[in-house]
């Protein structure tokens, strides 16, 4: 039998109550995209066996809780000890610096640049977070549709325009309803936008929408002429996330720009209905063929009463063998350089899925430095939100592209004025 908290020792803690006060309880707020929390529960069960003094309780919460409530709780001082977060730079002020408790050399060697995403910038060299789930955006292509249409797939170095033309041709020749789709998310369009010349930062390193307009124009035009599945961006409002996986799975979509986390779902649901493959990110007029890195990481919080225990838990998860196991079982890309170098044999993955994950991993070196910096930028969530809202308004015709870009700049300015 399993207890509500998924913790193997939670029952004991509940029964024993105050009598167990000597054991240090560590609360881990986790959210699941797939099976991460279950795997952590399992792995940390072994950790608890090795460290009888520490009791890790995993609270599985809706993602909304991590995004909206966690910051308020942290501000009030009532947050958890550990959490899996996605607003990496934005929560920096609450992070516990693990450096005093862990082997700095090992961490820097293993996690390299991703450590920067959790830092405040400047000369901050703290070790705050373990990037547990590295993702990269990229395109899924329905190879069977290409074959049916008799259209040759654009090769290495092909641009967004090449792919748009080819996808349109395929969609016309086959029964597919849509040539292309990009998830409705400010993060997803960041890679293509950089390929079109978006800089995302001004000279002083502050966020900016400088250079975003060429992509906005192309994207709005694609939505207008039917190259892009209009539903994805135009049927929602606010900064709501919307994907197009359903259309792709139904064989209704030729080219789907999403990211590495979709591999598991494609593998399970497409099955052998058609052949699909991952082609990374197309190139743009500005040069780079960049995707956008992302993902989630495990961090500890300063307000914890047991900083040593917190550090011990995170350090355990960061060990190469544990990290490799979790990566394989959750079918994520590894951010741990040692694990990545050794290669990961993903659990229960079909050859197609294994190829897809390898293709995503291979596109990591193409990531532009702008994209890398943008991912670690503390105000990137504000910018993602603004991108989605204003770009959608341009697509549905409430604003012109120029107006939308002007509004976006104003929004960002207002946001920066209030943030401190």
């Amino acid at each position: 039998m399993k207890m509500t908290t998924m913790s193997t020792t939670a029952i004991a803690a509940l029964v024993a109550g105050a009598g167990m006060a000597s054991a240090q309880e560590v609360r881990f707020m986790c959210y699941s995209d797939g099976n991460e929390c279950e795997v952590y529960e399992d792995v940390l069960g072994r950790f608890e066996a090795e460290n009888p003094g520490i009791d890790v309780v995993i609270d599985v919460v809706p993602y909304q809780s991590i995004l909206e409530n966690l910051p308020v709780q942290l501000a009030a001082g009532t947050g958890p000890d550990i959490a899996k977060v996605t607003d990496l730079g934005g929560l920096n002020e609450y992070y516990l610096d693990l450096a005093p408790y862990v082997d700095r050399e090992y961490w820097e060697e293993s996690f390299g640049d991703t450590l920067d995403w959790y830092r405040a910038g400047g000369d901050d060299d703290g070790i705050y977070g373990m990037h547990s789930q590295l993702t990269i955006t990229g395109a899924f292509v329905n190879a069977t549709l290409f074959e049916q249409a008799g259209v040759e797939m654009p090769g290495e170095g092909a641009t967004w325009d090449d792919w748009a033309a080819a996808s349109r041709e395929v969609a016309e020749a086959t029964e597919a309803s849509f040539p292309m789709a990009i998830d409705r998310s400010g993060h997803r369009v960041a890679g293509p936008a950089i390929s079109y010349g978006a800089l995302y930062f001004d000279d002083e390193g502050n966020g900016s929408f400088e250079g975003f307009q060429p992509f906005a124009e192309a994207f709005v035009a694609w939505n207008e002429d039917g190259t892009m599945a209009r539903d994805v961006w135009a049927s929602q409002g606010g900064s709501t996330y919307q994907d197009a996986a359903q259309e792709f799975i139904n064989g209704d979509l030729v080219f789907y720009y999403s990211g590495s986390w979709q591999v598991g779902r494609m593998d399970e649901q497409v099955g052998d209905f058609f052949d699909w493959q991952v082609i990374g990110s197309p190139c743009g007029p500005a040069g780079p063929c960049s995707g956008m890195p992302g993902g989630a990481g495990v961090v500890g919080f300063e307000q914890t009463e047991n900083p040593e225990a917190v550090a011990a838990v995170i350090d355990y998860l960061a060990q190469e063998d544990v990290y490799a196991e979790v990566t394989a079982r959750t079918r994520n890309l590894p951010a741990h350089l040692g694990v990545a170098a050794a290669g990961v044999e993903f659990e229960n993955a079909s050859p197609a899925a294994q190829d897809a994950l390898n293709a995503f991993a291979a596109s990591l070196p193409d990531v532009s430095p702008i994209a890398f910096a943008y991912q670690g930028y503390a105000s990137n969530r504000a910018m993602f939100g603004i991108t989605v809202e204003r770009l959608s308004q341009a697509i549905v015709g409430e604003l012109t592209v120029a107006e939308a870009m002007e509004r976006a700049e104003d929004d960002l300015e207002a946001a920066m004025a209030e943030a401190n």
């Binding site: 049927s235 409002g237 943030a419």
Partner: protein
């Protein structure tokens, strides 16, 4: 259950009786009010007061002590428009879009809501079979959580949804409902009526059943037409209940949020973004959290609502007197 409650109530009677002797009957009213006032004061009134402090301070800090005083700046930001009729000329264009959307939405929604619940209540009040069953059916959607309501209708109306499959099958052909601003808005009104109609029907039904039967019998004797009976007897006698329904429908209409937010996210663009969504996104879900702006907007909405309600109550009293 009653066996626990009854002795408990007798137990409460002892101190209440002592208080009654001490205070007299009319001041005892405050004792009856006290528990509610405490809860109210703490969890309904105090938040509004705190909201005022948020509205007059800046930054994205949660704790009030860390927030610098900025005076009326947030209100000025919201009101900064060259023409209130055109949101594009406003500094906070999203706020004004939400204001206009909400105004239209509430006008339509309250009208349809009251109309359909009255119709349903009148039909359910007739001498029909299986009244209990039908009454339950119309109330059932009220039980669904807003998220479920949104989920169900999103499935039905999305491009690859049930509705389009049906339309394809009939040969009419599907339509991409949620991409079309006007349709998305229309469906939002529909869904919100669908989800809440049962509640108002129930209140109206209770009001209808309280109308004495002999009044109708007299009307039948006079050979009054059904329409005349409805206008001359039913409506006037129902007016206290109608007032409750109108006030609640208006307030809840302006407060519409959860189901539409989960249904369209406020889209396409901002076509179904209503005022509470604006407040929620600025103050809670967005990044950074502009608590000040959100609090200022919420106070403005409350004031407008209060004025509207007072007008309703006043009109009702004047009608009752005249």
């Amino acid at each position: 259950m009653l066996s626990i409650i009854s002795p408990l109530m007798r137990l409460i009677e002892i101190p209440m009786l002592a208080l009654q002797r001490l205070l007299g009957i009319n001041r005892l009213a405050w004792v009856f009010l006290l528990p509610n006032l405490v809860l109210f004061g703490l969890f309904a009134f105090l938040p509004v007061i705190l909201n005022f402090f948020y509205a007059t301070s800046g930054s994205d800090n949660v704790m009030l002590a860390d927030r610098p005083y900025v005076g009326a700046r947030n209100f000025v930001t919201l009101m900064d428009c060259s023409s209130y009729l055109d949101p594009n000329t406003c500094r906070e264009d999203k706020f004004w879009r939400a204001v206009w959307n909400t105004s239209w939405f509430v006008t339509l929604q309250v009208g349809f809501m009251v109309g359909f619940s009255l119709l349903t209540a009148i039909i359910l009040n007739r001498d029909i079979r299986a009244r209990g069953f039908f009454r339950s059916v119309f109330f059932f959607p009220v039980l669904l959580s807003p998220v479920v309501v949104a989920l169900i209708w999103k499935w039905i109306l999305q491009r690859e949804g049930v509705m389009n499959a049906f339309l394809d099958w009939t040969g009419i052909g599907g339509y991409n409902w949620l991409v079309d601003a006007q349709w998305a808005f229309t469906w939002s009104v529909f869904i919100s009526v669908w989800a809440h109609m049962g509640f108002y029907t129930l209140i109206l039904l209770a009001g209808l059943q309280a109308i004495p039967r002999d009044v109708y019998e007299a009307a039948t004797m006079d050979r009054a037409s059904p329409w005349r009976t409805f206008r001359r007897i039913t409506l006037p006698l129902l007016s206290p209940t109608m007032l409750v329904v109108l006030v609640l429908a208006l307030i809840k209409g302006v407060q519409t949020f959860d189901e539409i937010y989960a249904f369209t996210g406020g889209g396409p663009g901002t076509a179904t973004t209503f005022i509470i969504q604006y407040i929620y996104e600025e103050g809670f879900a967005g990044a950074p959290r502009l608590f000040g702006l959100a609090a200022a907007a919420s106070l403005m909405v409350a004031i407008v609502l209060l004025i509207l309600t007072l007008i309703q109550l006043w009109v009702n009293r004047r009608n009752a007197d005249g």
